[in-house]
C-alpha cells in the first residue's frame, strides 16, 4: 500500500493533543495567551528531548521491573531544572504558568514517549522523536491559544518573557465584540472539542479514502 501520509498529515493525525488526547491538562489550562503557549511549548520540548536522550542512554542498564521510578527521577530532575531556570529568567512566565510547570512531570506525553519509544531506540532517534512530539504539542497549543486569545480578548499579543518587552500587540476584533467566554473554562473545553472534532473528521476522511483505494485495488 502506498504511503501517502505526508509529514503534515502525520502531524495532524498523530497529534499528541488532539489525536491521541495526551497532555490535555496543560493544553486546556494555560492556552489563554500566545505567550503562555510558546513558553510551555519550549519547556515541554526541552524536557521531552532530554528525557528521551537520558532514558535511551540508560535503557540497557535499567532492570525492566523498576523502569518507572527511574524514568520518574530523570523527568522530575529535568523539570526542576526547567522550573528554576524559568523562575530566574522569565518570572512573568513563571507566574502565568503557575503550577503547570510542575505538572510537566506527569504530562502523559513525556512518560508515554519514554516508555514507548526511548526505551527501545537509539539516542539519536529518541532525541529526534522527542523534538517532533514536542513541536507537534507546541503547534497544537499554539492553535488553541490563537483561537482563545483572538475570540476571548480580540487582540493577539506576544511579549518577550525575559524582559517583558512587547513584540506585537494587534487588535483584530473591534472593542466590545470579543467573547470573554473563551478565556474562561467553558471556552477552553469548547475550543478543544471543536479542534479535536476537526482532526477526527480529517482522520475519518483519510480512512474512507484508504478504504476506497483498497476496494479499487481488490476489484482490479
Amino acid at each position: 500500500m502506498e504511503k501517502k501520509q505526508g509529514f503534515f498529515t502525520k502531524l495532524l493525525v498523530e497529534n499528541p493533543v488532539f489525536g491521541l488526547y495526551l497532555g490535555i491538562c496543560s493544553s486546556l489550562a494555560i492556552t489563554t495567551t500566545l505567550n503562555n503557549a510558546i513558553g510551555m511549548g519550549v519547556a515541554v520540548i526541552f524536557v521531552l528531548v532530554f528525557s528521551n536522550i537520558f532514558v535511551s542512554l540508560v535503557r540497557n542498564i535499567t532492570p525492566d521491573d523498576i523502569h518507572i521510578p527511574v524514568y520518574i527521577v530523570i523527568i522530575a530532575t529535568l523539570v526542576t531544572i526547567v522550573k528554576m531556570v524559568i523562575q530566574a529568567y522569565a518570572p512573568s512566565l513563571y507566574t502565568a504558568l503557575g503550577a503547570f510547570i510542575d505538572l510537566i512531570v506527569v504530562n502523559c506525553i513525556i512518560l508515554g514517549r519514554a516508555e514507548a519509544f526511548a526505551s527501545k531506540n537509539s539516542v539519536g532517534a529518541s532525541a529526534m522523536d522527542g523534538l517532533m512530539m514536542g513541536l507537534s504539542y507546541t503547534l497544537s497549543i499554539l492553535a488553541m491559544s490563537f483561537i482563545r486569545q483572538l475570540l476571548g480578548t480580540g487582540c493577539l499579543s506576544l511579549s518577550n518573557p525575559f524582559n517583558n518587552a512587547t513584540i506585537f500587540d494587534i487588535r483584530l476584533l473591534p472593542q466590545g465584540y470579543e467573547i470573554p467566554l473563551f478565556t474562561g473554562q467553558t471556552g477552553a473545553f469548547l475550543t478543544f472539542a471543536v479542534l479535536a472534532a476537526c482532526i477526527a473528521a480529517y482522520k475519518n476522511h483519510l480512512d474512507t479514502l484508504e478504504k476506497e483505494e483498497t476496494k479499487k485495488g481488490a476489484t482490479k
Binding site: Y21, L22, D65, I68, G112, A116
Partner: protein
C-alpha cells in the same frame, strides 16, 4: 548551599528511590487475590496507548493467542 545539605539531598533522593524500588518489587511479588486475575480497566476511550496497563493487556493478548 553547604556540602552537608547537598549530601542530605542526594541521600533523600536515593533513599526515596530505594523505597520506591523495594515497594515496586514487593508489589509485583504479591499475588493478585483469587478471582481478580482477569480484571482489566475499561479505559478504551483513553488515548494513552503507551500506558503500562495497555501494554500488559497487549502482552496478555499476544500470549493468549499463541
Amino acid at each position: 548551599m553547604s556540602p552537608l545539605s547537598i549530601i542530605v539531598a542526594v541521600i533523600l533522593v536515593v533513599g526515596l528511590f530505594g523505597i520506591n524500588v523495594w515497594l515496586y518489587r514487593a508489589n509485583q511479588a504479591t499475588p493478585v487475590p483469587e478471582g481478580c486475575e482477569d480484571l482489566t480497566p475499561q479505559c478504551a476511550t483513553c488515548g494513552i496507548v503507551d500506558c503500562a496497563i495497555r501494554s500488559k493487556q497487549r502482552k496478555g493478548e499476544e500470549n493468549g493467542n499463541r
